[in-house]
């Protein structure tokens, strides 16, 4: 399955089944994330992408299947233990702490003393806005700034893997561009597993993809192949998403 050029899979999600309450949400999801790459999970709304991320983190622990991170089985462990192994999480809907200031939000993410001081330059380099606003409470930030803070927060400790859930959701196009550049920049040092509805963004960022449909992973492979496979895209991702070529054509006309 894994790319021959990358030797280690940092994260292997092997056929997990997850229940939320009484609902069987995941009925066999398999995702492989090679070290040093950006992998994207695609799929319709409600297909189970966010639940997959939460299952990896142990927020909704999977009942069956294995999750192997860095050669260690982590399914069934407590979320904070999993996070402390070096997994950063950027939740959807910009779940920052609104009653805490920007600085406190970042400081809270420290795992060791001094994490923030070591990485502040890198973080503020990616998101210069935050440096200006660092005293403001979280609820005074705009949506885009909140999203940046949510990403920045995951960069404070030393993470081997970042789980990023819908970073472009509800952002203005110009901010999407900035977010993309930031993710590209940070992927040089860490591995990223991304959930993204915006296919253009996903196709430009990711090297690998996994399509999740109705709680099952149905297809995965290299992004280059998917971009040209308009039938697959139509089938699983809905008619609204077009391949890059079609999009380009549409733009030209």
């Amino acid at each position: 399955m894994s790319d021959p050029t990358k030797q280690i899979d940092l994260l292997v999600v092997d056929n997990i089944q997850t229940f939320v309450g009484q609902f069987h949400i995941l009925e066999g999801v398999t995702v492989t994330v090679p070290k040093g790459s950006i992998t994207v999970m695609l799929g319709r709304n409600g297909a189970g992408k966010t639940t997959t991320i939460k299952s990896i983190l142990g927020l909704t622990p999977p009942q069956e299947g294995r999750v192997v991170f860095n050669g260690m089985e982590i399914q069934g462990k407590r979320a904070f233990n999993i996070a402390n192994l070096g997994i950063g999480y950027v939740p959807e809907h910009r779940a920052i702490f609104r009653s805490l200031s920007v600085l406190e939000n970042l400081k809270l993410a420290e795992r060791k003393k001094g994490d923030f001081d070591r990485h502040s330059e890198f973080v503020f380099g990616l998101f210069p806005d935050l440096k200006r606003l660092y005293k403001l409470p979280g609820n005074h930030l705009s949506g885009g700034q909140q999203q940046m803070l949510a990403v920045a927060r995951a960069l404070v400790p030393d993470n081997k893997l970042l789980l990023i859930d819908e970073p472009s959701e509800g952002l203005a196009p110009i901010l999407i561009q900035q977010m993309m550049e930031a993710i590209k920049a940070l992927s040089e040092t860490t591995t990223v597993l991304l959930v993204e509805q915006n296919f253009i963004m996903a196709s430009q960022l990711a090297e690998r993809y996994t399509i999740i449909d109705d709680g099952k992973s149905v297809k995965s492979g290299l992004m280059e192949d998917l971009v040209h496979d308009s039938e697959l895209i139509h089938h699983y991702l809905g008619a609204s998403i077009k391949t890059r070529e079609e999009l380009e054509k549409a733009h030209e006309s």
Binding site: L59, R78, F80, P91, F97, S99, R111
Partner: protein, 497 residues
Amino acid sequence: MKAKNKKPLIIIAAVIVTAGVLALLYITAGQQTFIRTALSGLTLGSLFFLVAGGLTLIFGLMDVLNFAHGSMFMLGAYIGWQLYTNPTFIFGLLPQVLAFASGVLITPIIKPYLIRWKVPEYWIKILPKIGYLLSLLLFFVSFIGLDILGLADTAMVAATTATAGDALAEISVQEPLAQYWFRPILIFISGALVAFSTSKPGQKSEFAPKEKMIRKLIIPIALFILAVEATFIRETAPVTILLMNGNWRFIIAIIVSIIFGFAFGAVIEITLIRPLYVRPTFIIIMTLGLSYVIRELVQLLWDPLAYQMVRPPLFAQRGKAASLLEWLQNGNATIDIVGVTIPTYRLFVIALGIIMFIFITILMTKSRLGMIIRAGVQDPQMVEALGINVKAVFTVVFGLGVAMAALGGIGAGPFLPIQPIMGDHYQTQGLITVVIGGMGSYGGAFVGAMILGMARAFGDYFALKYSLSTAIAEASTVIIMIIVLLARPQGLFGKKE
């Protein structure tokens, strides 16, 4: 934007209203009565705050309304009173408590090895159960023949007989070491068995790294050494403490109450509250049951009587001090403030409340724990995802809340009769305070407590003046709460959900 502009206006309005009400009371009551009543209101308010502060912290973070808070207030008073009057009871049980704790706390050391232990599937479920049962058995065996009631009696005798001048006369002889030695050992093993069971031997999905083992050893070993130490000083320590200056003894009593409250709260959270977070209504019911049990336990140990704790020397000297300095030098029981005679102990209680408020404010705004609590109030799951053990934070906060209640209890000790129902009234008022201030807001709890204290004090005064019953004063707090809730359902300082 609108909310921003409104805020200063509201503050100004609140200040004006408060000043107006105070001025009105000042005019109707006259200077002397006003000061006396206001100070007694502040005293009550500060006790209300000590109860409500913990309640609101606990509610804010974990949505738990602790209906046993009043009982914990009462327990704090009892423990402090024991230490102050005759610590034989505390020192008699200390070795076992410490030994058990050190046994339980070896969990992080044995867990990494136990979960890697290859146990047949069938035994994984059975082993912990066997462990718990054995531990329960050893726990009871270690107490067989120990005269706990007799130990508890010592302070009762000291408090009821006229030997107040010679507290040492009431130190009772304890079991000789030759008979006693097996108890701490058995209970240590019992604790270790609990540790064995909670680490779930053979359970692969558990997580326990073998890092920093030496550092993890420090606490259990320290506790074990303390337990051994405590075994030897069971008889001498009470004497040493009773020979101390009364003020120091009182300070030690306060510290012991706080430590006891914290430990007790933490244990309650882990054992009774934690399994019920999924069923919030049941937490309320559980804490109701718990308060019942605590009260009955106290009645079992110390009989359903009311005790009067002797005031520490700093507040006991006859005669009136003219100034603060004179009081601190002579330790007068009363002090003259602008021509009004005020018991000095009230000033101490007020100070206690204010110090605790400042402490909480600093804790919440400046410390990392405060940051975690504020974040956890909003989204505990995300805090967990950042790598913070939220369950442990819950335990700490519950412990802190109970420690505050226990502090309130011992603070009220020399001021109220110490009896099993002493906490009930403060619990009701504390709950009302929390609702008025806004659940989860410690600043709101402080303001609410002061309002309630004042209402009670002035209600009593006016009831007396117009020869009504005290029901008016009692009902005043409830009426304030109903008004606040109907006008502003989230409380004065609460945030809208």
